[in-house]
């Protein structure tokens, strides 16, 4: 608890190593929580990342007291990044199994976007997002928080420190950009 709290404090944990450690911690915490929640759910249930991230926030950090937005932003950034890793691992594992090969990436040439299973679409979006990170990092962060972290526009605005209106604009433009990017790779 104390270690987590320490890592979550942006003042004591502002170096790269601490950020990395926090990510690892969030990764484990989210996975454990996902497992625990799954165990108690009725059949056919799926878990939304947003529910997980919020619950981890409540469990780990808040401790009954409202923390300031700075801590919160720091936490959400790490949580979204960890969630992205979990989802990508999950999707990669499944699509690898389906396509037989171990290292081989699935062949994009005979691939129809509209019927691609959710896992494969998640991987495609992740790939395009990596490109977006290079050309427009701020926009990529909005996608990370909203798409992988499951956050609302308001939360994303608080976390990134830009206005809600700009968040919305970034989101609309970014997803169109990502879509076209993916489409242009496919035949």
């Amino acid at each position: 608890m104390s270690e987590t709290a320490m890592l979550l404090n942006p003042d004591t944990a502002n170096d790269v190593a601490a950020a990395d450690q926090l990510m690892t911690l969030m990764y484990d915490e989210l996975r454990h929580l996902a497992a625990a929640r799954m165990a108690n759910e009725s059949s056919g249930h799926t878990l939304q990342p947003t529910a997980l991230v919020h619950e981890v926030w409540l469990r780990l950090v808040a401790g009954g007291i409202e923390r300031n937005w700075k801590d919160r932003a720091y936490f959400y950034n790490a949580a979204a990044e960890a969630m992205r890793r979990i989802l990508i691992d999950h999707a990669r594992r499944k699509s690898r199994l389906k396509h037989g090969g171990d290292q081989q990436r699935f062949n994009i040439d005979n691939f129809d976007l509209s019927v691609a299973p959710a896992d494969e679409r998640t991987l495609l979006i992740n790939g395009a997002l990596e490109e977006l990170e290079r050309v427009h990092p701020e926009r990529a962060r909005v996608v990370l928080l909203k798409f992988f972290g499951g956050m609302t526009n308001k939360e994303t605005a608080e976390t990134t420190g830009i206005s809600e209106r700009s968040v919305n604009r970034h989101w609309i433009c970014a997803r169109t950009w990502l879509f076209k990017r993916i489409e242009s790779h496919a035949p």
Partner: protein
């Protein structure tokens, strides 16, 4: 090479501006007009904006469908019924894979693997779409016969409809020719694990067990025997926050077991036992496996109840498997298991504490609780002779309910004896009507069976008497030892009065904790000698004396006042310094349970205090939340606070600050530490503690802060520990309690590491994340 899908940089910003604005216009005509007017004659710009707009519907659908979700995962979800060990017929190439289609089912994810098969979560596509569990049997067996057996029972299985039973839906063969079963998907954890993780008390466990009995009874009424009742086949799911049991795998054991009977063996070629021996009834273990009826399930239910209550099965699995096939069979068929309460008596102390903790009761109470009725109920279900067991699952459930309602249970032996006599009486009456010859015959038969029962009773009686005698002997020995110990304590007390501590210490050295029993005199001797050993710096001996003080104090279960907590800080601190963290942990658990419901703020404060010396586990801290409330309220409530001395309040504020600090709430920790410093009380070690906490909390809030408080704390620590280590021991004449001084020192050392890592060690940044364990400085300087 394709063209870049995005407009070139020159017009990018403008195009996006128009695009976003246009999206907010609902009507397509107005939107087109807006785009046209905004772009004017710039054809490139207009093409870019229209390109973005035209793809919008596809984009929205694409992102909506791609919203990532996690599907149920993780092996803990459903466990397979392990019926048959893998006999290597299956090669890797045969195995099915996720995504494969089997009949009307698409495999989604592997969720469990047992001895005999693999369980997948699968999607049924027709006639209805739903998630199901699909179990593929690994064994290379005659698939047709397995399916035929299943088909034979299918009608009966279909009739089963009970909220606590997972339905079997279908069976078939995979392309590789292996049988599979489809059943209702149950996401849950096995009953034993659920109970332990939620620390359910015995009554809550019995309530769940009754649900299981009703499910089994329902199946029995439909003519289905489960044959493989065990915790991994009984899962708990949450239904609107209420735990509900689900029994899975009905009908599977039978369909499979038919195969194995052909060679009439319970062992495969590899001499592995088929099934889960510890849950198997004697008749299942025997050669006459064909002769299994509903009462076999009753036996397995008995084993389950045994495990729910004691955390152990009547026979240990490893021992059974180690003993070899013949011996195992003999054990199951002939050896009488220990009664649950006796089984608990045989556990190691730490096992017992853990078992009791998982059941939210104190160790001693748990044993008392099981003794008598519950022992009898369990043993009746576990009778080797099935005619002596409960005849139905409802019978078992009713008897458990009798226990819960405080009514007499029918499992008590006199009643059984009585029932048999009644039976003989009934038979006699019947045969008087039939005729004299038959009468004589039946009389003889009745008498012999009556005698048989009598003998059985007599044997039971003998066992009881022998146990009684053993207990008496044990008590006698204990009393004798206690008497001897009492004499020793009187002598030791006299020596202490004359100041001859080392002689007293030698005198009591040999006395073992169980011989002590609750005694004020013994407690006083151990308290004195514990303190004396501390003064000498003999920490190992001090910890030993203090641990015995804990035994001698043996707290009255109903006493939740601070009087019962008075020695705890010194006891626990001695254990910490001596490095005996496992006893420290045990004491914390026991006291946390004991004082969970206290309303005495002083007691609450003490428990908080001893739990926060070191970095505590999260679940312990959560357990302590109510105590923290009580302590904090007593400080906030002016009226209550006015009744206590300023010194008492200052200490309590310190405990609250510590608790907040361990919870990671720096600002509250800092606030309470400051409050502690505001009280007009000058106990120096407490002031040092408050400064150390304040320094650490402030440092966490703002890394530049904390220096001034560190200096204040150091000035006080310097007066007592010039080298900032314990040194040669803590003389009795020091002002204040020795343990408070050590607490202050530990906190100060922790603060030194936290606040001034650079000056303390070269690799400051890596040390920052190390949990504050007992500082090396202490342990190395004392031994």
């Amino acid at each position: 090479m394709r063209t870049d899908p995005w407009p070139t940089n020159g017009i990018l910003e403008q195009a996006e501006e128009i695009f976003c604005a246009a999206l907010e216009i609902a009507s397509s005509q107005e939107r087109a007009a807006y785009v046209e007017s905004s772009c004017g004659h710039d054809a490139e710009l207009r093409a870019a904006v229209e390109g973005m707009l035209s793809s919008q519907p596809a984009v929205e659908i694409f992102f909506q469908q791609s919203t990532p979700v996690l599907l149920p995962n993780i092996s803990q979800v459903v466990t397979a019924a392990c019926c048959v060990p893998d006999n290597a017929v299956v090669s890797g190439e045969d195995a099915e894979f996720e995504g494969e289609q089997i009949g009307a089912y698409k495999l989604l994810q592997k969720i469990g693997e047992g001895g005999c098969g693999v369980v997948y979560m699968a999607e049924q596509q027709s006639p209805v779409r739903r998630c199901v569990a699909l179990k593929v049997i690994k064994l290379g067996m005659d698939t047709k016969r397995v399916i035929a057996r299943f088909e034979a029972e299918r009608q009966a299985l279909a009739l089963m409809d009970h909220p606590n039973i997972a339905r079997i839906l279908d069976a078939g063969a995979t392309q590789t020719g292996r049988p599979y079963f489809v059943m209702e998907l149950v996401l849950g954890v096995r009953i034993t694990r659920y109970c332990d993780e939620h620390c359910l008390n015995p009554c809550q466990r019995l309530e769940l067990f009754i649900q299981v009995c009703h499910a089994i009874q329902h199946a029995h009424q439909k003519g289905i025997i489960h044959r493989d009742v065990k915790p991994s086949n009984i899962l708990i799911t949450n239904h609107d926050g209420v735990p509900v049991t689900k029994t899975i795998d009905f009908g599977i054991a039978k369909a499979i077991s038919g195969q194995l009977l052909t060679d009439k063996t319970l062992f495969t070629a590899y001499e592995q036992f088929v099934g889960t021996p510890e849950y198997m009834s004697p008749e299942q273990a025997g050669m006459s496996n064909l002769d299994v009826d509903t009462r076999s399930d009753i036996y397995s239910l008995g084993v389950l109840l045994y495990e729910l209550l004691t955390g152990k099965t009547p026979f240990d699995q490893n021992e059974l498997l180690k003993s070899g096939p013949d011996e195992m069979r003999r054990t199951l068929r002939e050896r009488e298991p220990h009664r649950p309460s006796i089984k608990l008596g045989g556990l190691r102390l730490d096992e017992l504490t853990e078992t009791a903790f998982q059941r939210s009761v104190e160790p001693r109470k748990l044993k008392l609780l099981l003794k008598g009725d519950l022992d009898w109920i369990v043993m009746k279900a576990l009778e080797k002779d099935r005619s002596l067991r409960y005849q139905t699952a409802t019978g078992l459930a009713m008897d458990v309910q009798h226990y819960l309602n405080d009514e007499p249970v029918i499992a008590r032996p006199p009643n059984r004896f009585y029932r048999f006599r009644k039976l003989v009486h009934r038979n006699k009456a019947l045969f008087i009507m039939v005729g004299a010859v038959s009468l004589a015959l039946i009389l003889g038969f009745g008498t012999s069976s009556w005698l048989f029962v009598r003998e059985h009773e007599a044997r039971k009686e003998q066992v009881l008497l022998r146990e009684e005698a053993e207990r008496a002997e044990f008590n006698e020995r204990r009393l004798r030892l206690e008497a001897e110990a009492a004499a020793t304590f009187t002598q030791a007390a006299a020596l202490i009065n004359r100041g001859k501590f080392s002689e007293a210490d030698r005198l009591i050295e040999e006395i073992q904790a169980p011989e002590i029993g609750p005694s004020l005199g013994a407690a006083s001797v151990f308290r004195n000698l514990g303190r004396w050993n501390v003064a000498q710096g003999r920490w190992k001996q001090a910890a030993d004396r203090y641990l015995k003080l804990y035994s001698a104090n043996e707290i009255d279960p109903s006493d939740m006042t601070d009087a019962a907590t008075r020695d705890l800080p010194a006891i626990t601190m001695a254990l910490i310094v001596a490095g005996d963290l496992s006893d420290y942990r045990r004491l914390m658990r026991e006291t946390a349970i004991h004082f969970a419901k206290t309303e005495d703020p002083v007691a609450a404060e003490q428990i908080l205090k001893i739990n926060t010396f070191l970095l505590a586990e999260t679940n312990t801290l959560v357990l302590l939340l109510p105590l923290e409330r009580i302590a904090e309220n007593s400080l906030v409530d002016q009226q209550a606070a006015s009744r206590e001395s300023q010194c008492m309040l200052a200490w309590r504020a310190q405990a609250v600050a510590m608790f907040y600090y361990r919870r990671g709430n720096w600002s509250s920790a800092s606030q309470w530490a400051r409050r502690g410093l505001d009280y007009p009380d000058n106990t120096t070690n407490r002031i040092a503690m408050a400064h150390a906490i304040l320094a650490m909390a402030e440092h966490r809030l703002n890394s530049a802060d904390g220096g001034a408080d560190m200096d204040a704390a150091r000035d006080i620590i310097d007066t007592r520990f010039p080298n900032h280590t314990i040194g040669a021991g803590i003389p009795d004449d020091t002002s204040g309690f020795w343990n408070d001084w050590i607490t202050a020192l530990l906190l100060y050392q922790e603060a030194e590491r936290e606040v001034r890592p650079q000056t303390q060690c070269a690799n400051g940044s890596s040390r920052r994340f190390a949990p504050p364990v007992v500082p090396k400085a202490i342990t190395s300087s004392t031994f």
